[in-house]
């Protein structure tokens, strides 16, 4: 990507490296382990590449406080293992879990099935330190779960694709892992029936961790037929039995885990020219998206986010234009520079650009990485 590559070993070195490059007006490519180059806008050629992959320390972990502070380059898989060893979790379930870093998961706002119950990155991060192009380390939030001291600047970095600053340290709140986790699959002949099942579950007293809806092309990739509803429940054994009883009333049920966390990644690995459109739907629109598109669609039916998988970028380009709010989240790297990845940004894009200009006045950092608009 560029001639100079930096892999700082401490947050201070990261800040210094960014500061030096910026003071020389060098363009910078910023990432962790670069596992998601097909995601977001194109990675432009740059003078310097900065990776946070060398920042791998656990800074503070007191399981009894239910909080942890880690450096941004820590591999997500190690992070998850450490928590699991203490029967705790940060249930983001990001794709590319075995390649990604903690910082990369946040910068791309990656999330997975269990966001229905536990939220996305914005809901589990309680503090962070980020390095700016001025060569400074800035802190937002802290190490306690309730904290309103100062502006919540950290929120801006989540989903920013490294266009504002570099994540150096991230603090999370932790959850105890449930005693039992079980997955259920319900299958239906029509989108309407599946949509009704999703609605019934959402409106019931059940509080499933995940609630996903797949159309037949997506189900077929997993060896299933029809419109499929996938539900994960957590809790004690009698809670799990209760889910089984209640879900049986809603449709034909099997107890089975289907591999949804890496559905998108697996698809992309099979389709070198493939593209994935992420549709930000409302909850009531999600079944409609699943019913109308003929390519494999996985809908996070409990949060409204739908992922439509295309074998080629052309068809994806058509879907991303509407009628729903959508972006082309993954696209072939060679085509990205010419594709319209984010056709209809909201009226708040100008404010976003003002923030970008404040933090990066010379437009040096991860140019175009935010879906080619920033």
């Amino acid at each position: 990507m560029s001639e100079t590559a930096l892999t700082p070993g401490t947050p201070e070195e990261l800040a210094a490296g960014l500061g030096e490059a910026a003071s020389r007006r060098q363009t910078i490519t910023l990432g962790g382990r670069f596992s998601k180059n097909r995601m977001g806008g194109p990675v432009a050629a740059s003078d310097v590449t900065v990776s946070t992959a060398g920042l791998t320390r656990v800074l503070t972990y007191e399981p009894r406080d239910l909080t942890i502070s880690v450096e941004a380059g820590m591999p997500w898989i190690e992070f998850s293992r450490l928590l699991a060893a203490n029967r705790q979790m940060v249930p983001l379930d990001p794709p590319f879990a075995d390649l990604a870093t903690v910082g990369g998961v946040l910068a791309s706002n990656s999330s997975g099935p269990r966001r229905r119950l536990h939220g996305a990155a914005r809901d589990v991060v309680i503090g962070m330190k980020f390095a700016t192009l001025e060569g400074k380390l800035v802190q937002s939030g802290g190490m306690v779960v309730k904290n309103v001291a100062g502006l919540d600047m950290g929120k801006l970095l989540i989903g920013s694709f490294g266009t504002l600053a570099a994540l150096a340290v991230v603090n999370f709140k932790l959850l105890p892992a449930p005693e039992v986790r079980r997955h259920f699959v319900l299958a239906f002949d029509t989108a309407e029936a599946a949509g009704a099942a999703v609605r019934a579950i959402r409106q019931s007293v059940l509080q499933p961790a995940s609630l996903d809806l797949l159309n037949p092309p997506a189900a077929k990739r997993l060896g299933l037929d029809g419109y499929v509803v996938s539900v994960e429940a957590g809790g004690n054994p009698s809670v799990i039995e209760r889910y089984e009883r209640e879900l049986k009333q809603i449709g034909p049920l099997t107890v089975a885990a289907i591999p949804l966390q890496e559905f998108t990644r697996n698809f992309l690995e099979e389709h070198a020219g493939g593209a994935v459109v992420r549709i930000s739907a409302t909850l009531s629109q999600a079944p409609e998206v699943v019913g109308r598109l003929t390519v494999p669609v996985v809908a996070r039916a409990g949060s409204g986010v739908c992922y439509a998988h295309f074998a080629g970028a052309e068809a994806a380009a058509e879907t991303v234009r509407g009628p729903w709010i959508a972006i082309m989240e993954f696209a072939p790297e060679a085509l990205k520079a010419t594709l319209d990845l984010w056709p209809s940004p909201g009226g708040d894009l100008e404010l976003m650009r003002r923030i970008k200009r404040m933090l990066d006045p010379h437009h040096l950092l991860n140019r175009g990485r935010l879906y080619r608009h920033i």
Partner: protein, 477 residues
């Protein structure tokens, strides 16, 4: 100074019933729930977003400061017009614009009272989760400004976790929208930045909130202790055993007696402390957790363990908790509520520290905690008529907060920094971090006219002045 010309324009815009400017009326808007005061020069009551835009444009034209105000229940001086100017009261923008249960959302104006959202949807089994103790009075606009919490945020998160979109007016009069009913809109999370910005970046005119499905079962437990340390140990043990209550509130003996005299909720008059614990969820989960908590409480030497048997009993226990500040008002002429946060394992030692601070200053400090998430509310009792008492109370409060910082906590969990704690910010944040907050302030409000004098330290006694001058339009930095 608000010029006669500016006043005239505002009066013409809003009509005779749309503003207040007589000194006796303005004096009602010089304070909030905190201990500081400053009088606005005019209070205006917009009825629509268009009114807000027009007010902001007039203020801009005349270089006048603006402060948003909901119900004035805030506890850090967030709604106090420190530099005078115009107070924008949102009391009349109090309509719930849309309830969309299919999408688990409501769209509301900023003056809607927090509890009114839940009241509007509870018959259909939904609720709005953040529940500050002042929820019968406080407004969503104020909640968004301060990123308000409440007892149940232990399980459900604070305001920022339940706000999905905002309409807002910037100090230049520009009207903007961000976020929406949909999940994961691409781009920077401006909603997240504005929530908790304490009215210093924008005036919010519309809020999209998340509604949640009511749980099947709720159980409320009162555990009574003869020693406060045992109470603290119970909280730590609940966490260690991965039991997940939705609220764990602690009241110490002083607090208990005041609350009981005021509400007759059935709290014991002679105990050292109690825990009020709530569990919600599926019947199978709640029933098991009640037994697990019973075990923990017994092991930690609770002298009594009561489970509320009816909705009425539960209501009464919560009434006692939520009216605690009112109960204090009955016995002490003045009180000062603090809002520190410590890591959960530091709760018991911090109780000891607070006791010592009270002894040092000769002041009674009662304690009411959101113990489950380490958010402490020491209430310092004092008498404004006794010379030096207010100073002592403020110093005692500051000493407690310094302890919170020293053990890795925060100076505010849910009340905000405001003009109460801005001088402590440089103990919590580096100068680089404070500079960045200032940069954001300048970006949104280059003339420093929106709620000036809040959040950032004024730099009293330091060489570097990070806060802006309160009066002029030009920032000093």
């Amino acid at each position: 100074m608000l010029s006669p010309e500016a006043k005239k324009k505002l009066a013409a815009l809003l009509g005779p019933r749309g503003y207040l400017d007589r000194p006796e009326d303005l004096s009602l808007y010089e304070y909030d729930g905190s201990v500081d005061k400053a009088r606005p020069e005019m209070v205006v009551f917009p009825r629509s977003t268009e009114d807000v835009v027009a007010i902001v444009k007039i203020a801009r034209e005349h270089g006048v400061p603006l402060v948003g105000r909901g119900a004035g229940t805030g506890l850090s001086g967030g709604a106090i017009p420190r530099a005078g100017g115009i107070t924008v009261g949102f009391a009349r923008m109090n309509r719930i614009l849309e309830i969309d249960l299919e999408n688990e959302r409501a769209v509301v104006q900023p003056g809607v009272v927090n509890l009114d959202i839940t009241l509007a949807v509870q018959a259909r089994n939904y609720f709005y989760a953040p529940d500050p103790s002042s929820q019968r009075a406080c407004t969503i606009g104020g909640n968004v400004a301060e990123n308000a919490g409440g007892p149940h945020t232990l399980a459900y998160g604070v305001t920022t976790n339940h706000v999905l979109g905002l309409e807002f007016v910037l100090p230049d009069g520009g009207l903007h929208n961000t976020g929406g009913k949909e999940g994961d809109l691409p781009g920077y999370d401006l909603t997240g930045l504005l929530t908790g910005s304490e009215g210093t970046l924008a005036l919010v005119t519309k809020v999209i909130v998340r509604l949640m499905r009511q749980p099947e079962m709720v159980k409320t437990i009162l555990a009574i202790y003869n020693a406060a340390e045992d109470c603290g140990r119970t909280v730590a043990e609940i966490t260690a055993r991965a039991i997940t209550p939705v609220a764990v509130e602690m009241l110490d003996g002083v607090m208990l007696r005041m609350v009981e005299e005021a509400t007759h909720a059935g709290f014991p008059m002679d105990a050292a402390a109690v825990l009020l614990i709530e569990l919600e969820g599926l019947r199978e989960a709640v029933e098991e957790q009640v037994e697990q908590i019973r075990e923990v409480c017994q092991e930690c030497r609770a002298r009594e363990f009561r489970v509320a048997r009816s909705a009425e009993e539960r209501e009464l226990l919560w009434k006692g908790r939520k009216n605690a500040f009112g109960a204090v008002g009955r016995v002490s002429p003045s009180y000062y509520v603090q809002d520190g946060v410590v890591p959960r394992t530091q709760i018991a030692p911090t109780l000891g520290v607070i006791g010592k601070v009270g002894e040092k200053y000769g002041l009674t400090i009662s304690n009411i905690f959101h113990a489950g998430d380490g958010n402490l509310h020491p209430i310092i009792l004092f008498d404004t008529h006794r010379p030096g008492d207010l100073e002592k109370a403020k110093n005692a409060g500051e000493e407690i907060l310094r302890h919170c910082i020293d053990v890795g906590g925060s100076i505010t969990g849910e009340h905000g920094v405001g003009m109460e704690k801005n001088e402590l910010m440089d103990r919590l944040f580096s100068s680089d971090s404070l500079d960045m907050i200032r940069n954001f302030k300048l970006l949104f409000d280059p003339e420093n006219r929106l709620n000036p004098g809040k959040v950032l330290p004024t730099g009293k006694g330091c060489l570097e002045i990070r806060q802006f001058a309160l009066t002029g339009a030009a920032p000093i930095y």
